[in-house]
Symmetry: C2
Subunit: 357 residues, 2 copies
C-alpha cells in the first residue's frame, strides 16, 4: 500500500477531468510517483501532456471528494489499489490502458486469481440463463473466478454460478463502487461483496453513464484469461467485450444455439470469426489449458527480482531486457512499470532504464 499522502495524490490525479489512463501513465513514466507529478511546474507538465490538461492538473480538486475516497478506502473490506500496489492485478498491467486506480470491495486477492469472463445478453432466454449459471458453477468449482458485469440476464446468472463454486466471482462495475446498478441486483451485489469482489475504476458516486459500460468491458476481459459469450444478439455489448478480449490476447469462446434464435447470432458471428465453440465447461477448460500460464508475472519476488538481477546497474533499453530475460515485451513493460513505481529503477531519457536500488 502507498502511504496516505501518496494515495491522496493518486486520487487527486484520478479526478482530473480528461486525464486518461494512458496520459496518467506517461506522467508516471516521466515524473515517477504522483506526488512528484503534482509538484511539477506547468511548463514541466506541458512537456508531457497538452497545456490545457497541465492547467487542469494544477487547478485540481483537493477537497471533499479526495477526502471521501480516502475515508471509503479506510473502511474494512474496502481497498483502493494503485498501479504501484503489489496487489494490483498483474493481468491488467498487460492491457494497453490499465486504470491508475481500482476501487475494490471484498476479496482483493481474488483479482489476481485465474479467471474467466462470462458475459451475454441482458434479455437472455431461460435456457441461456441456465447455461450461464451452469457453466459458471462448474468452472468456478474448477478454480476459476468468474468475472462479469453485474447486469441482468447472463451476467447475473454467471455471478450466481460463480458464487456456487470455490473460484467465486468478480463484478466489474460501470458506476462508482458505492452505486449498485441495476437496483434489482442489490442483494446479489451484497453477496458478491461478502464472498467475492466488486471492482470499479470510476470515482465514488459515479452514476450509470452509458459511455462507461463499453469502457468498463476492457476490465472484464482484462482481468480474465478467456471470455465466454453465452447468448448475444448481433448488437450486443458482449461482442465488444469479446473483441477487447481478443485484442488483449485472451481466449474467446461462444456457446452455439439455434440458427433461428436472434440471441445466438452474436455467438455464431464470433465462432465464424475464430472464437472457439463451447459445448461444455470441459471445452472451456481445455481451451484455457492451451492458453498462457495463469500469471505471467508472479507477484513481487519472482519475475521482477529476476529481471532486476539481470539488469545490473548500468542503463539499458527494453530490447536488451527482453533479450536477457526471455520474457515478452508486454511482461517486461509491466515489470518495469512496477519496479519504477516501487522506486527500484529509474527511467532515463532515450528509453533507457537503470537500477537504483
Amino acid at each position: 500500500m502507498s502511504d496516505a499522502g501518496e494515495l491522496a495524490a493518486w486520487i487527486e490525479l484520478s479526478l482530473v477531468p480528461g486525464l486518461g489512463d494512458r496520459r496518467f501513465r506517461s506522467l508516471l513514466s516521466t515524473f515517477g510517483l504522483p506526488t512528484r507529478i503534482l509538484s511539477a511546474t506547468r511548463s514541466q507538465l506541458g512537456r508531457v501532456v497538452p497545456e490545457a490538461l497541465a492547467a487542469r492538473i494544477l487547478e485540481r480538486n483537493k477537497g471533499p471528494e479526495v477526502e471521501k475516497a480516502l475515508q471509503w478506502a479506510a473502511q474494512a473490506g474496502h481497498a483502493l489499489l494503485t498501479l504501484a500496489d503489489t496487489e494490483y492485478p498483474k493481468q491488467l498491467l498487460e492491457i494497453p490502458d490499465p486504470p491508475a486506480l481500482l476501487y475494490v470491495t471484498g476479496d482483493v486477492k481474488l483479482l489476481s486469481s485465474s479467471a474467466l469472463a462470462v458475459v451475454g445478453s441482458r434479455n437472455a432466454t431461460p435456457q441461456g440463463m441456465k447455461n450461464a449459471q451452469s457453466f459458471a458453477r462448474t468452472l468456478s468449482e474448477a478454480g476459476l473466478a468468474i468475472v462479469s458485469g453485474l447486469a441482468l440476464g447472463v451476467d447475473s446468472a454467471a455471478h450466481r454460478g460463480g458464487l456456487e463454486g470455490r473460484g467465486s466471482t468478480i463484478a466489474v462495475l460501470g458506476t462508482g463502487i458505492d452505486i449498485v446498478y441495476p437496483r434489482r441486483n442489490q442483494a446479489l451485489a451484497e453477496e458478491i461483496a461478502s464472498r467475492g469482489a466488486l471492482v470499479s475504476e470510476f470515482a465514488l458516486g459515479a452514476p450509470p453513464n452509458a459511455a462507461n459500460f463499453p469502457r468498463r468491458n476492457r476490465l472484464i476481459s482484462g482481468l480474465a484469461r478467456g471470455c465466454l459469450v453465452v447468448e448475444a444478439a448481433l448488437d450486443s455489448g458482449s461482442l465488444i467485450t469479446a473483441r477487447l478480449a481478443a485484442e488483449q490476447g485472451r481466449e474467446v469462446l461462444a456457446i452455439p444455439g439455434s440458427i433461428h434464435s436472434p440471441l445466438s447470432k452474436g455467438c455464431h458471428a464470433l465462432i465464424k470469426q475464430g472464437a472457439k465453440l463451447a459445448e461444455s465447461a470441459q471445452d472451456v477448460l481445455e481451451e484455457l489449458g492451451g492458453a498462457r500460464a495463469p500469471d505471467p508475472t508472479p507477484s513481487g519476488s519472482g519475475a521482477s527480482h529476476d529481471l532486476l538481477d539481470k539488469m545490473g546497474f548500468d542503463p539499458l533499453d527494453i530490447d536488451e531486457l527482453i533479450a536477457r530475460s526471455g520474457l515478452t515485451t508486454e511482461v517486461v513493460s509491466a515489470i518495469l512499470l512496477q519496479l519504477e513505481l516501487e522506486g527500484k529503477i529509474a527511467s532515463l531519457p532515450g528509453g533507457l532504464y537503470q537500477r537504483i536500488a
Copy 2:
C-alpha cells in the same frame, strides 16, 4: 461412349470379386482399355495384381449379369458411364478411388454441374428437416445440385429442397441402381429419376448391404464442392461423409444447434475441428465462393488439350507436367487418366507419359 464390346469388358471387370477401384485403375494404366486387360495372360496380369485376383479375372462372369447390365444401359433415361467416358464426372477423377463404372438414371449432365452435398441424421428433428429442405431449396435455386444419399430424415428433406430449385438433386445409392432403399422413398426416387439423377457404383440388384453405405459416402462428397451437415449425432454416418469431404479437399460446413441436443453434437464436433459454421444458405455460398473454381478440368477441349500441347511428343514425368501446366497434382493426374483412356497418351515404365496421338 465406349462401343458395346468395350462396355461389356468394363462390366465384366467391374463384376470380378475383389477387384477394387484402385487395382482396376492400375490395370488400366498398365494395359490400356478393358478389352486389353481381358486379353492379357495370367502371368501378365500377375505382374500388376495378386495371383488369386489374376485367376479370378480370367475365370470372370461373362454370362447373364453382363447381358442384364448392357440391356439396362440401353434403356431410355439410363446411362452406364465408364472412366473413359467424357461424361464421367470430372470431380470424381480428383478423388483417390473413383468407381470404374457408374450406373445413372436421369440427367447425366447433372453429375458434372456445381454441386453441394447435404447430409445428416435419419432421425432428424422437425426443425432439422425444415432446415435441410430450406437450405437445399435456396442453394438449388442459386444453381447448385444438391447431392445426398436417399436415406430418411435429412437426406430426403435435402432431395426435396433440391427438386424445388433449378439446381435439382442427385441421389447416390448404396444399392444397385434398380433397388430403392428404403422402400418408403420409392416415390421420391422416381421423382429424382425424372427431374434429377440417381447414381450407383454397385451392380444391378445389389441389396442394401451395410458395408456399402460408408463406401458410397465418398461419392456423395466427391461429386460435390462442399458438404453441409445439417443435424448429426456423434456416431452418425454423416460424420464419415464430412471426413471424406475434408480428405477430398471439399469445404465442410455444419449447422449449429442447442448444446443440449444430441443431434447437434456431431455438427459441433465438426465446427471444433475446423468446419465452417453455417447459419444461412448465404454462408454456404460465400464459403464455396472462396473455394476452387466449379470445374478444375473443363471437359474435353480446354485443360486436357492445353496439357497435350505442353507435353510435346517426348516422354516426361508428372512433375514436369505439373511444372509446365501450373496445375495441381490431382488435376494433372485426372487429365492424364482421361487422355490415356482416350488413347491420346501412353504410360511408360518408370512413371513416364508420352503423347501418341
